[in-house]
Symmetry: C2
Subunit: 135 residues, 2 copies
DNA sequence: ATTGGAATGTCAACAACGCTGACGTAAACT
DNA sequence: AGTTTACGTCAGCGTTGTTGACATTCCAAT
């Protein structure tokens, strides 16, 4: 990046013995890719006082309807308290519905409402468009 | 993820017409990859009251020694105020050195100190080990 | 049947790190 | 001389992570 030696990792090399150069290129690629990938949803969500955390919650609830809070923060890799704040606003805003468990009343099962599904669709559509642009 | 239909994107399909399923798998892959990729550095930095922002600054200063502040926050995609907070602590802790420009004295050129280079090496070594594990 | 502990989820307070806006200084440009 | 640029800093705010404390519910040992 700084020095102009932007040679691609020579495809014959073993992936187990990365040069410093190759490693650092990988780190940067990940950084820029991730940022580009979330840019569109970030912009949409900013208008609603939502952030990336809301997006992730919506995404995974859509993927696994009826999942519990416990389940969800384990998947997301955050604390239950952190997830709770996000869920609270999503529920308050009518995007997510929380149902007390039938077998275990301690659990809350999470579902997207129609409105929640609508937002999820909007966000993934934006990312789909972004991916098309990348080609 | 929720439904078990974890079929790989059929490699013959056009990348321009992603199914919902394929798109969502891509989103998730990006999320998990990025998190896994930064997990080790995050842990190391947490012990020093540093975060991911410090890591990024150190990384790019190492990549482009002598870069200016302006340059750096443009690359990182953050405001100068946000970068400044991070930079200030790094300079105070003796990991980064800031030199007034020779040609243009308004500019500050940024360099890693020996100590800064040591930390950078530690962080990228952790990521190198992580990548080896991934295979 | 009661009780003690584990599991689940909620509320509160704090830290990291984005952001905007405003202002000051020095240097460069016109 | 006046404007613009580069940088630093202060103040304030929002999102999203953290830990700590607490209520409810379940379950297992007594």
């Amino acid at each position: 990046m700084a020095d102009g030696r932007m040679m691609a990792p020579s495809s014959g090399d073993s992936l187990l013995f990365l040069t410093d150069e190759q490693l650092r290129q990988g780190i940067e690629a990940m950084f820029f890719a991730y940022r580009g990938f979330t840019a569109d949803p970030d912009r949409i969500l900013a208008d609603m006082a939502y952030g990336r955390a809301h997006h992730r919650a919506i995404h995974f609830i859509n993927r696994a309807p009826g999942t519990t809070v416990n389940n969800l923060f384990n998947i997301l890799g955050v604390t239950k308290q952190s997830l709770n704040r996000v869920l609270r606003t999503l529920i308050a805003d009518g995007l997510v519905q929380s149902k007390v468990g039938r077998n275990d009343k301690r659990e809350r099962h999470l579902f997207l409402t129609d409105e929640g599904r609508k937002l999820e669709q909007e966000l993934s559509d934006a990312q789909r468009a972004r991916m098309r642009l990348a080609f």
